[in-house]
């Protein structure tokens, strides 16, 4: 397992699903805060706690100390108001101290929610580290059709946002570049989901890698997608083409499924 530095970004070439390894590599200060949260939740939840699970970017090996959130899923048995009120204090401290962002789930809703949160659950299925309790996501299945719908929705929303960015920029190259950057930051997971649906394995979560794989599979250029600041117009054009082609690919999947 190796980590390669590329400028200020740390690109991870480790195989996916090594969330425990990535967790242990967190700075000691952050680890301490996560451990504090686990201890405080255990004390405050009055036996309602089922599990605490590390998820998101950290579990995928994408942690950046200056900006990353630490995504944690807290699974509760009843999630009653009284319990939620008691754990509010530790959650607020964890957020302010180390950007620990918590999603609260009720144990019974996990199996029934994967249809409406398919990408979140698919990510959890592939990348998680149980910090406390029994793993509540063992055997979790996310239906292919649910994933397909969600990927299509997110890609279509990205296409809408891209058009709006160009309209709002009104010819200002800097504003256009910022808009393109915002759209780029939100398409990584749906594009990776699309590749998965198309049967293309992608062993990295880095945006550059996902864009490159998507470009090859969909036969569209992606060389300028890394230059939203220096070549915003060319970047916008390439991204619009990529999104249109990706959405068409999801539709093809739809037709095939039908």
């Amino acid at each position: 397992m190796t980590l390669a530095r590329d400028g200020e970004r740390e690109l991870c070439s480790a195989p996916v699903g090594d969330a425990g390894y990535f967790y242990r590599r967190l700075p000691r200060r952050i680890l301490g805060r996560v451990e504090d949260l686990v201890r405080d939740l255990e004390a405050a939840a009055d036996g309602d706690l089922v599990a605490i699970v590390l998820a998101g970017g950290v579990a995928r090996g994408e942690f950046r100390e200056e900006s990353s959130d630490i995504d944690v899923v807290v699974v509760l048995e009843t999630a009653k108001r009284e319990v939620l009120s008691k754990i509010g204090g530790p959650l607020a401290v964890a957020r302010a101290a180390a950007r620990i962002d918590v999603t609260l789930l009720q144990a019974a809703e996990i199996d029934r929610s994967s249809d409406v949160f398919p990408l979140l659950f698919e990510d959890l299925r592939a990348n998680r580290f149980v910090l406390w309790g029994k793993d509540p996501f063992v055997g979790l299945e996310v239906a292919r059709e649910h994933r397909r719908l969600r990927v299509e929705q997110e890609l279509r929303e990205a296409a809408l946002a891209l058009r709006r960015a160009a309209a709002e920029a009104r010819g200002d190259a800097k504003a256009l570049g910022a808009g393109v950057e915002r759209v780029l930051s939100r398409i990584r997971l749906p594009l990776r989901g699309l590749l998965d649906l198309l049967g293309v394995s992608c062993d990295s979560y880095a945006l550059e890698a996902v864009l490159s794989k998507a470009g090859k599979k969909l036969v569209v250029p992606t060389a300028r997608l890394g230059r939203p600041t220096s070549q915003p117009e060319e970047c916008w054009d390439e991204l619009a083409t990529l999104l249109a082609t990706a959405v068409a690919a999801v539709d093809t999947l739809d037709a095939n499924a039908a």
């Binding site: 200056e66 900006s67 607020a92 401290v93 957020r95 302010a96 101290a97 180390a98 950007r99």
Partner: protein, 280 residues
Amino acid sequence: MSFFPLDLPLAEFVAVYLVLGTVLLLAGKGAALGVTGLLEPKADASQDRRVDGPRLVEGELPTDDGLVAAAYLRGGIQGAADAILASAAGEAWMLKDDEAGGLELFDPPVGASLRSAKLRGRISGPHASFRDARLAALEVAKDESFWIRRTLSSQNLLRSAGSWFLGALIFGAFLAIVVGLGAVRAANADANGESPLVALSVACFFLFVAGALSKTNRATGAGERYVSWLESSTDALRDDVASARATDAGDLALVGAVHGVAEIPVFRKCIDELAAEAAA
């Protein structure tokens, strides 16, 4: 008067005086903290102390009135004023005026705190300089200092006036010895055939050091631990607010209360403007 270290040649006296003075001031500070610490009531979990106002405890981030009280504990009355200003920025009725410089003011929104209404009432017009806004916040904070002190004292976070006075007396005694040594040496300067300015300068230096050492407010040991916990527990949020990544009203108020207004972008720009004016 001629005894050690006053009987030493000037250069040796200055060297010994610097070392001795530093040791004495630190010892004085330690003695003051030790004696007043002994007088502090000990925390007893079995006793449910009666607490006036918001409760400030480690593990819970303060909100509303608790923010102003925590800010007072950290930075005295100016700290409380900073918390009030930060709330105003969080409620988005006090903004940076990029064209005219200084601050642009609106009416506090519905649901804003009464404290915000008081602050707005003390600043007339749609514009204000950062200095004027800070002075107005200071006045609002002064109006509230009574309940703040009562709240903090009832939780054993702030020293009582008697305890603080005793601490000041002990530290003052040590300071008097240090400054006295320099004064006596300066008084005998003519007889020794040397300039009195040397000893006086070192004595003034010690006065400056003493001022810095006594700058800590009246927080008890428990109060200082609470402030330290609060600062370390809002590290990430401070960075997010300073970089405008976090813009929630509650986040701005918390960071302003715990870390001061310089971390709030609106006021950071004002402070930079003032610094640029001063440099020019």
